[in-house]
């Protein structure tokens, strides 16, 4: 077993910061009995001299533009779960270590991701792209890895034999001990884990208590440490808050990209792609705006999905300023892994048209980008229908027709008993009688002809079989 601990020391702040590219001064507040103090602040706020622990009033006098949020532990938990969904692409065995860490069992993944260093780098850069700063540490026991990451020791301890040495210098304060106990330990001159480990074992059990000793054993990997494993939900749901309200739809893309990255990790873990998903824009004091996205083919490609959202958001008129985004997806479609598609050229071409169709539909609207297919019906108006591009199915043995069909037959005037359209129409072929339709619409009976006018246009015209026996133009042979 090899555990990787991913500790997010700045999580209370990052849940508010990660939705914006360049947030201004921002601070998270801690509330102790009606008194608010600064719990954490970003760099822009620090530049004004704001420090943790400072009363809110003092901070505001240093920087009037300071944006403040009370700490939201619920949002931190949600963010950690979103991160867990993303991290599942690296291992199926992971555990949430609240309030601010994830534990990943990665021994089985080392080979796939090219070794410890490559995996660390990949996770580190991935977490950074999601908008977090993480401390990573590896150890053969979950508690050991957790302690190292908490202490800021960016170590990779791969053998149990080296673990004791690595943990020894860590301060006892990292273990969540009751106050009297820590005081007692300090009184005994014990400051680090190593100090405790050096005590004779039975004496230590008496002085430190059996629970403390058990925790040390778990940290050193001497006894098994079964953790409650993260059980992923069946659907993807993630939320991101914006540091300040946004009124320009395009400015939402930065945050949307981070949600898409989380979803991509979720999809990679399952070898799936999405074909439909929904983006919600949340507003203050208003129900959220919903933007459904439908794709021609399943995908998990970030740049493509982001391009679609860009078009959708570009067309969307915000009803109110936006304070957060929610991305949800419920239906997933199996998708081959990337390395299979790499040498498979037809697939790449297919992706080209899918992306084209989706881009067109995102910008122009689904109803304006159409495919067509013939339908088995001998009434010309019903012999075709529109379909989603790419889904037309051939129909054998269809009688042939002009290339253009008018949306509505157009009444032709008659001159000396002959139909007239830009000149006298000469009937070249026909009649073809087409009748019926009484069972699902207006009854009809028509004689169709191919006709030409002096300008060499060729037209598909018909005459009603029943009075008033008028002439109509129905199509154009190009």
């Amino acid at each position: 077993m090899l555990w990787l601990s991913l500790y997010l020391p700045h999580l209370p702040l990052e849940v508010f910061l990660r939705g914006g590219a360049q947030p201004g001064p921002l601070a998270v507040l801690a509330t102790h009995s009606n008194r608010q103090t600064i719990l954490a602040r970003n760099r822009a706020a620090a530049a004004h001299g704001i420090t943790p622990g400072m009363p809110l009033g003092a901070a505001l006098s240093l920087c009037a533009d300071l944006v403040t949020h009370p700490r939201e532990e619920g949002a931190e938990g949600t963010a950690l779960e979103g991160l867990a969904l993303w991290a599942e692409q690296f291992t199926p065995t992971l555990s949430l270590a609240l309030p601010a860490a994830l534990l990943l069992e990665v021994e089985g993944s080392l080979k796939l991701f090219g070794g410890v260093e490559a995996l660390r780098e990949r996770i580190d850069s991935g977490v950074t792209a999601l908008g977090y700063r993480a401390r990573l540490a590896l150890a053969p026991s979950p508690l050991g890895a957790w302690l190292l990451a908490q202490a800021g020791q960016h170590q990779s301890v791969l053998n149990r034999g080296e673990l004791e040495q690595a943990l020894s210098p860590l301060p006892l304060g990292l273990l969540d001990l009751p106050k009297e106990k820590s005081k007692a330990l300090r009184g005994m001159g014990l400051y680090t884990l190593g100090d405790c480990l050096r005590l004779p074992r039975d004496g230590a059990a008496k002085r430190l208590g059996p629970e403390f000793l058990a925790a040390l054993d778990r940290a050193l990997g001497r006894v098994p440490d079964p953790l409650p494993l993260f059980t992923p939900p069946a659907r993807f749901h993630s939320r991101i808050a914006l540091p300040a309200e946004v009124e320009n739809a395009e400015a939402l893309l930065f945050a949307a990209r981070r949600l898409l990255l989380e979803m991509q990790g979720f999809l990679l873990a399952r070898s799936m792609g999405v074909q439909t998903f929904e983006l919600y824009l949340t507003h203050h004091h208003r129900p959220p705006s919903r933007l459904p996205v439908g794709l021609v083919a399943p995908t998990r490609e970030i740049d493509h999905l982001l391009g679609l959202l860009k078009e959708l958001l570009g067309r969307f008129e915000l009803p109110a300023p936006v304070d957060g985004l929610v991305l949800t997806a419920e239906q997933f479609v199996p998708l081959a892994s990337h390395n299979k598609a790499l040498f498979n050229e037809p697939k790449a071409e297919q992706q080209g048209w899918q992306q084209l169709v989706e881009r067109l539909r995102a910008r122009l609207g689904e109803e304006t980008v159409k495919g067509i297919q013939p339908v088995a019906d001998h009434r010309p108006e019903r012999a075709w229908r529109t379909v989603v591009p790419g889904q037309a199915k051939p129909l054998p043995g269809v009688p042939s027709r002009p290339l253009w069909l008018l949306p509505e037959p157009e009444l032709l005037k008659e001159v000396d008993g002959h139909p007239w359209h830009g000149g006298r129409l000469v009937l070249q072929q026909g009649p073809e009688r087409i009748e019926s339709g009484w069972w699902d619409g207006p009854d009809m009976a028509r004689d169709y002809f191919v006709a030409a006018n002096p300008r060499h246009g060729r037209y598909w015209v018909y005459r009603e079989c029943r009075p008033p026996r008028r002439w109509f133009l129905h199509g154009v042979f190009s």
């Binding site: 040498f343 498979n344 050229e345 697939k347 790449a348 071409e349 080209g352 048209w353 992306q355 084209l356 881009r359 067109l360 122009l364 609207g365 109803e367 304006t368 980008v369 159409k370 495919g371 067509i372 013939p374 088995a376 019906d377 001998h378 012999a383 075709w384 229908r385 790419g390 889904q391 037309a392 051939p394 054998p396 269809v398 009688p399 042939s400 027709r401 002009p402 290339l403 253009w404 069909l405 008018l406 949306p407 072929q429 026909g430 073809e432 009688r433 087409i434 009748e435 019926s436 169709y448 191919v450 300008r455 060499h456 246009g457 060729r458 037209y459 199509g475 154009v476 042979f477 190009s478």
Partner: protein
């Protein structure tokens, strides 16, 4: 960048598939015309303008063999804001693979131009036909560049007056009605002067060769649902 992406680039030419020297083209299906066109057909990776007066005189029929051939080869056919509804049975009869056909029904000029450029540039399309209203020289230039990038045959249908304006299109052909067909004049082509007029007649279209006959005797059978495809041949 993956290999597949590299191969999709328009500036990567691969031996075997595009082994022609100079111009890549798709045969028009009309030998006298092909002889006059550089590369022996409608140019791929370039913009073509067809200039004519009256819609419906045969301009689309002229392009039909090339469109059919390109869709059968697995490339997409896109019509941008056609003036009428494209009629599925006729396109299918002309050999167009309808599963690779789409048309854009948004008549806002800016949207149409954008869509045509996207389609040309995508690399997925064989032919992109556009009925645009008064594209300006900058728009034409963009379309020509997009066609080059995507390797597609871009076609614009324009009025004959457009011949007076300069255009970056690689090929400009003027169509005038003639007995049973069209007279084609090549106004501009790559590596050549304007041509002698070429006479073009639609090869008896497949959809007319069988003649048109009455469906009436079959009607009762259709009504009874016996003719499964309902086509009453």
């Amino acid at each position: 960048m993956s290999l597949a992406e590299v191969l999709q680039r328009a500036d990567i030419w691969r031996g075997g598939t595009h082994a022609h020297e100079g111009h890549v083209a798709v045969p028009s299906g009309h030998a006298p015309l092909d002889q006059q066109l550089p590369g022996g057909g409608w140019p791929l990776g370039a913009l073509t303008e067809l200039l004519f007066d009256h819609p419906g005189m045969g301009e689309l029929q002229l392009l039909m063999p090339a469109q059919a051939r390109l869709t059968q080869a697995g490339r997409w056919l896109v019509w941008v804001t056609p003036p009428y509804l494209p009629y599925a049975p006729a396109l299918a009869a002309a050999g167009v693979e309808l599963s690779r056909f789409l048309y854009i029904d948004d008549h806002a000029p800016k949207a149409a131009l954008w869509a045509m450029e996207q389609a040309l540039r995508s690399g997925a399309c064989g032919a992109v036909l556009g009925w645009l209203t008064n594209p300006d020289p900058r728009a034409l230039r963009r379309l020509q560049l997009a066609a080059e990038a995507g390797g597609a045959m871009g076609v614009l249908f324009r009025p004959p007056q457009a011949a007076r304006q300069a255009s970056p299109a690689a090929l400009r052909v003027q169509l005038t009605p003639a007995h049973n067909g069209l007279t084609l004049r090549i106004l501009k082509r790559r590596g050549g002067w304007a041509s002698q007029p070429i006479h073009w007649e639609p090869g008896t279209p497949r959809h007319l060769s069988g003649g048109i006959h009455s469906c009436a005797p079959d009607l009762e059978r259709c009504r009874a649902g016996e003719a499964e495809d309902g086509s009453c041949r």
